[in-house]
């Protein structure tokens, strides 16, 4: 406290107080406890871990020992528990309520999956243990691969990528390698719609492709004429999300794939929205050459406040030889091993991370798939789509659907209904917080003005959907009436609106001792 410059202005200041109620002496707000930084409550000599005393042997560090122990604060276990539990109570979470972030698929995270991922046979298994000691783990990876291939109708899968964007990197590197193998590395252009996730253009550019934007038609789908005008001998491929980020299925997808293939390019599908179609259609039947699958979206592995994720990539026969190392191989006796270097016909694109993927996520995802089964996964996709369409139907007269017709798993609105009210999309989002909901995705996709993208997922009950719609309709009515209070929402959250401009202009990215 006293030794922290930043806290001098804020510690002792109440946090989490509902507006208008005044301050408490403690800074707490009933059950919502005030909590300082570990640097303000801990000391470097305190510890919550009892360790045996080191024997004091002469060190063999070649003179590279540090001059003093690191100046990091420690806490006893009870203090640490309170610190993190108090912090946790400042977070919204799926387990608290609806988390309809479009494009993020915030569905329920079954606890069976957590239990199984913690079995010592997986959780305490070293990645470099001999293959004879890891056959069960490798077999689980094989089973997960089989499920993913059956659901996507693709030829091969790499389990290596650690997140969606990492999967994009994997898939686009495979395309780059395939072009090189054809002697066509001059193909540099990658087409993406303006509605694409930012990771698509960022990935393509990172590995030397140039990004060419293709237009969106009035129906919210790829403008075929614009696509046609941009095809040519310099095309490496297309990165297309399907269902797209407007929550719409690209109905011309087979035609798009054919045109890309005819011009010598490859079709990378961003699989972020696979939840809408799992068990209903297979990317392999749509002309896709590579697609990542976000296990943390479609297959319910927890988002964990921003990861870890997992982004396995499925490949068409054309791209399969370029999958990265390591990959799984099973011999005629059912014995598994990881192939770490090119063998046979394979021309691996290289290596993308240490070891062989997010095993903890593989266990959870397979548990999820086995629990649902082929029938349950199909039902989950249908319910996700039904829930989104129900929300769309309930909101469409009072808000402004971005495009006409039904949607898939998410419903997209523009801010047209807010015209001349002085209220913006951000205000609607913040007002939803006061109603006890996590806001929808806002200002994405970029090609829809003031976008609000609502993805309820299949794990919301009708009662919760109704409560959400009731709240949003009431907020929309307040907005149309020009209620100025919306500009200052939220009022009932652990924090009020935060000054993001100040954070960026004077970055304070770490605690510093006073005077430094």
């Amino acid at each position: 406290m006293a030794d922290n410059a930043s806290a001098s202005s804020s510690s002792g200041t109440p946090s989490g107080l509902r507006a208008g109620l005044g301050q408490t002496v403690s800074g707490s707000d009933g059950l919502l406890q005030h909590e300082n930084l570990i640097f303000e409550i801990g000391t470097p000599t305190k510890t919550g871990v009892d360790l045996p005393m080191p024997a004091g042997m002469p060190q063999r560090l070649g003179g590279l020992g540090r001059s003093q122990p690191p100046q990091l604060p420690g806490l006893s276990e009870p203090e640490a528990m309170r610190h993190y539990v108090r912090l946790s109570q400042r977070n919204y979470a799926i387990d608290l309520g609806m988390f309809p972030l479009g494009s993020c698929t915030m569905k329920h995270n079954p606890r069976l999956n957590e239990k199984l991922a913690r079995l010592p046979g997986f959780a305490d298994l070293h990645p470099l243990a001999p293959a004879s000691a890891t056959q069960g783990a490798l077999r689980l990876m094989g089973m997960l691969s089989d499920w993913l291939l059956a659901l996507t109708g693709m030829a091969a899968v790499s389990l290596v990528p650690k997140a969606g964007a990492h999967g994009e990197l994997c898939g686009m590197l495979a395309i780059k390698a395939a072009l090189a193998a054809r002697g066509e590395s001059h193909r540099k252009k990658v087409l993406t719609p303006g509605s694409a996730h930012g990771t698509n253009p960022a990935t393509a550019a990172q590995i030397g492709f140039s990004v060419v934007e293709i237009g969106t038609g009035a129906d919210g789908r790829v403008d075929l004429a614009d696509l046609g005008s941009k095809l040519g001998p310099d095309i490496a491929g297309i990165m297309l999300t399907n269902p797209n980020t407007a929550g719409l299925f690209e109905r011309d997808v087979i035609e798009i794939a054919a045109r890309i293939h005819n011009s010598g390019g490859y079709f990378y599908c961003d699989g972020a929205n696979f939840n809408a179609i799992m068990g209903k259609a297979r990317p392999g039947d749509l002309g896709v050459d590579a697609m990542h699958i976000n296990l943390h979206k479609t297959f319910s592995t927890p988002h964990g406040g921003g990861g870890p994720g997992a982004g396995p990539v499925v490949f068409s026969p054309d791209l399969a030889p370029f999958a990265p190392v390591p990959y799984l191989d099973r011999d005629e006796f059912g014995y598994y091993r990881l192939v770490e270097e090119a063998e046979g016909e394979a021309m691996p694109l290289g290596r993308l991370a240490a070891f062989h993927g997010q095993m903890g996520m593989f266990v959870r995802a397979l548990s999820y798939m086995m629990s649902h089964g082929a029938d349950g996964l199909r039902q989950a996709a249908e319910d996700a789509v039904l829930n989104a369409n129900y929300v769309l139907a309930r909101l469409k007269t009072e808000m402004s659907p971005a495009f006409p017709g039904h949607c898939m798993h998410e419903a997209l609105f523009s801010d047209a209904f807010l015209k001349d009210t002085g209220i913006e999309t951000l205000d609607i989002a913040k007002a939803l917080i006061d109603e006890g909901f996590h806001p929808m995705t806002v200002y994405f996709p970029l090609n829809v003005h003031g976008a609000m993208l609502i993805e309820p997922t299949e794990t919301e009950s009708k009662a919760d959907l109704d409560r959400f719609c009731d709240a949003l309709l009431a907020i929309a009515a307040r907005a149309k009436a020009g209620d100025p209070a919306l500009k200052a929402a939220p009022f009932r959250a652990p924090a009020r609106r935060l000054d993001e401009t100040r954070a960026a202009r004077e970055p304070r990215l770490r605690w510093r001792p006073q005077g430094s």
Partner: protein, 449 residues
């Protein structure tokens, strides 16, 4: 299906509200030829206990570290104790089932813990700023190479022969695809200083590791000075985070970017993932850093709060001009790390690191008693390399059949490096006193047969 709340009656009612007679109408846009009439050919739904039984049977086929008769595997993943409270904290619903803190008013728990995490990593590495984590140590290393190229506007990346082979290959793949020139030096135990031979005026960075893949320690100060004199950056890599509790911080030795693997604190072995990549740098390079950053600010009422900041570097804003394509990172693994480190505190981490070092000393002393074995790394932290009188891989396989995981043959990750006789072993606080004689006896027996 136990995870689906809608009842048949709900579905009927909702379809009606949506103005359709069947859910199939929502799928009208899918070309008829691609529509699946029936579920795919996979097993149908199962009860919770049936799934548990099937997956637990797979787990039972593996040999976990704590079930081994003795365990000395490292090579970038280390067996350490994780306090029970850490696992409880990361299973709190509010952490486990939340997402990237896009709405800071209802994500202060995640944001404050990330701010504390960044602070801890910066202090521990001796650097000025750290980001809120990457996928793993190898991918963080590749990002460091890309960042060094952006900062210096140069193209050549020099990789030490002591770098973990997976890290070197990841950098070669990712930075190579960005048209950078990768010069990877031959694998060798004391390889860090040899990087200077490749330094020239197109060098963006030298990438060194300490303790390196073989466990050898290097004072990188002279390498950093030479790199700086040529206008290049020094990227420092570590795979064993706990080593920083006992060793001189890389920031004090002149590192410009420090990256590494954080699995050792708070995170289990997990057969290789999920892990947590760490990334720290000098503040003057801040705008070129990849990944998310939590920053301090105030709310409308002037109270301290935290937000994601400097996002103009990131893909969701900058798109094809972003510093990285990364979006999701390793949030929950970072939380486990920061909670474990908070429980330890500076003195606790220092003591834990000493215990690890002493375990490795006991290991070294036991190994050098065996005729024909020589210690190739006189200085080490908790991992070391010995030379056997014959190829190490068959010896390790034999010991594995006896339930002893004796370490990593160098040839496992570098089959063509001519290092077949080298065995890399790690010891940690979890090794028991009788592990060392048990390993030594088994090794001796394997070597005389």
């Amino acid at each position: 299906m136990r995870y689906l709340p809608l009842t048949p009656e709900n579905r009927r009612e909702m379809l009606k509200k949506a103005g359709v007679s069947s859910v199939e109408e929502f799928y009208d846009d899918i070309p008829v030829a691609a529509r699946l009439a029936d579920p795919v050919d996979l097993p149908f739904a199962r009860s919770e206990w049936a799934v548990e039984r099937a997956i637990a049977a797979l787990a039972a086929e593996n040999l976990p570290a704590n079930a081994a008769r003795a365990f000395f595997l490292g090579g970038g993943a280390y067996r350490h104790h994780v306090p029970a409270s850490v696992d409880h904290i990361i299973q709190r619903s509010e952490f486990l089932t939340s997402y990237t803190p896009y709405q800071p008013e209802i994500a202060q728990g995640t944001l404050q813990s990330l701010f504390e995490f960044q602070s801890q990593i910066a202090i521990l590495t001796g650097m000025e700023v750290a980001n809120s984590s990457m996928y793993d140590g190898a991918s963080a290393s590749a990002e460091a190479a890309l960042m060094a190229a952006r900062v210096t506007k140069r193209r050549k990346i020099i990789l030490s022969g002591g770098l973990h082979p997976h890290y070197a290959e990841t950098i070669a793949t990712v930075a190579g695809a960005a048209s950078l020139v990768i010069e990877r030096l031959p694998a060798a135990i004391n390889a860090e200083a040899a990087t200077l031979g490749a330094l020239d005026d197109d060098t963006a960075c030298i990438v060194v590791q300490s303790p390196n893949f073989f466990g050898a320690l290097t004072d990188i100060s002279a390498i950093a000075d030479a790199a700086h004199a040529q206008g290049a950056l020094l990227v420092f890599v570590f795979t064993e985070l706990i080593s920083l509790g006992l060793l001189k911080p890389p920031g004090e030795m002149g590192a410009d970017i420090v990256v590494g693997e954080g699995q050792s604190l708070g995170n289990g072995l997990n057969f290789g993932g999920p892990y947590v990549g760490l990334f720290a740098a000098r503040e003057k390079f801040l705008r070129q850093m990849p990944g998310r950053l939590a920053g301090e600010t105030v709310d409308l009422e002037g109270r301290r709060g935290f937000v994601l900041t400097l996002s103009a570097r990131e893909q969701h804003i900058r798109r094809e001009r972003a510093t990285s394509n990364i979006c999701t990172n390793s949030g929950l693994c970072a939380l486990a790390l920061t909670a474990h480190l908070t429980l330890l505190g500076g003195a606790g981490l220092h003591a834990l690191a000493r215990l690890n070092h002493e375990a490795a000393i006991l290991l070294a002393d036991a190994l050098v008693q065996i005729p024909g074995i020589t210690l190739e790394t006189p200085n080490f932290f908790n991992e070391l390399t010995v030379r056997l009188p014959r190829p190490a891989a068959p010896v390790v396989d034999r010991l594995a059949r006896e339930g002893i995981l004796a370490g990593l043959p160098a040839s496992r990750l570098m089959p063509d490096a001519g290092l077949d006789d080298l065995l890399i072993l790690a010891a940690t606080e979890l090794n028991q006193p009788d592990d060392y004689p048990r390993l030594a006896a088994a090794l001796s027996a394997a070597l005389v047969d």
